[in-house]
C-alpha cells in the first residue's frame, strides 16, 4: 500500500486553490477494524488527504523548491462520516504563504454533505532549519518521489474519458 490519500485532482488553480477526490473503498484494510460493523474512514486519514491536497497546492506555488511538511492543525472539525462507496471531495484554499511556509483552509464533502473542515499550517522544512536542507535530498522527498504522480492520474483520466 502507498501513502496516497487522494485519488485525483479535479481542479487546480495555481497559488489559489486545489480540489481533489478520494474514493472510499472497502478494499482498504483498516476499514474492517475501524470499526467492526461500522466502516467509516478514520478522521486522521481525511485530514491526511486534505493535507496532501493543500501541501501540493503550496508546493506547486513555489515550483516544489521547498520541502513542505505539515506543521500544525490549528482547527479541525468533523461534522459527519465517510463510508465505503462515498466519494470525498477535498477543497483547499491557500490563505497565506511565505518563505517559511503557508496556511490552507479546507473542507471535505461527500456530495453536498460537509464531512470535515480544517485549517492546516505547513512549514518549509529547509527554511526552518538549514541543516535539514542539507540532510534531505529534495529529489527523494515526498513530492518528487511519489505524491506528485497523483497529478498524472488526472491526465490518465482525461485520456481515458476522451476516448469514450
Amino acid at each position: 500500500m502507498r501513502w496516497f490519500w487522494v485519488d485525483r485532482f479535479v481542479e487546480f488553480k495555481s497559488g489559489v486553490s486545489a480540489t481533489s477526490i478520494k474514493n472510499v473503498s472497502l478494499a482498504e484494510e483498516h476499514l474492517h477494524d475501524h470499526f467492526p460493523g461500522f466502516a467509516v474512514m478514520p478522521g486522521s486519514l481525511i485530514l491526511e488527504g486534505l493535507a496532501q491536497t493543500g501541501g501540493i497546492l503550496l508546493g506547486e506555488k513555489n515550483n516544489f523548491d521547498h520541502i513542505v511538511v505539515l506543521a500544525k492543525v490549528p482547527k479541525i472539525k468533523y461534522h459527519s462520516y465517510a463510508c465505503p462507496g462515498d466519494q470525498l471531495r477535498y477543497h483547499t484554499e491557500l490563505v497565506e504563504s511565505s518563505h517559511e511556509g503557508g496556511r490552507v483552509a479546507c473542507t471535505a464533502h461527500v456530495g453536498e454533505r460537509l464531512v470535515a473542515e480544517a485549517e492546516i499550517i505547513f512549514a518549509h522544512l529547509d527554511s526552518m532549519d538549514e541543516s535539514m536542507s542539507q540532510s534531505i535530498d529534495q529529489k527523494n522527498f515526498v513530492f518528487e518521489m511519489g505524491l506528485m504522480s497523483i497529478l498524472d492520474v488526472d491526465a490518465i483520466s482525461q485520456a481515458v474519458n476522451s476516448d469514450s
Partner: protein
Amino acid sequence: MSSEEEILSKVQETLIDALGVDDDEVSPEATLVGDLGAESIDFLDIVFRLEKTFDVKIPRGELFPEGLAAADSGFIEDGVVTAAGLDELRTRIPHADIDKLAADPKVENIQDLFTVEMMCKFMSNKLASK
C-alpha cells in the same frame, strides 16, 4: 477604545486562536513559551494571523528573531548573554524588555523576552510606520 487597547485586544485574540489558551491567561506580562506554551511552529502561525488581522507584512525574524542563543553567535559565554549580546538584542528586538533580561542574563531567560506586551509594542511600532 484607544489604539493601544485595540492592539492588545487583537493580539490577545490572535494568541487565543493560535495557542488555544483562555482569555484570562493572556495578560500583557504573560510569556509566550513559559506561560502560554507556544512552540516554535506556533510562531509561524502567530505571524500569519497578525499579518491578516492587522493587514501588514511582517518579514521573517522581525517580530521573533531566530538563533538568538546559537552557540556560535559569540554573544553567549558560560550560559550567560554577554554585554555585546545584550546590545545586539536591543538592536534586533527593540520592542522587547532587554533591561529585564540584563538583570538576569541567563540564556534560558531569552525566551521570556517574548511576551504579550512585547508583541503589542511591535505591532504598535509597525502600525505607526505603515
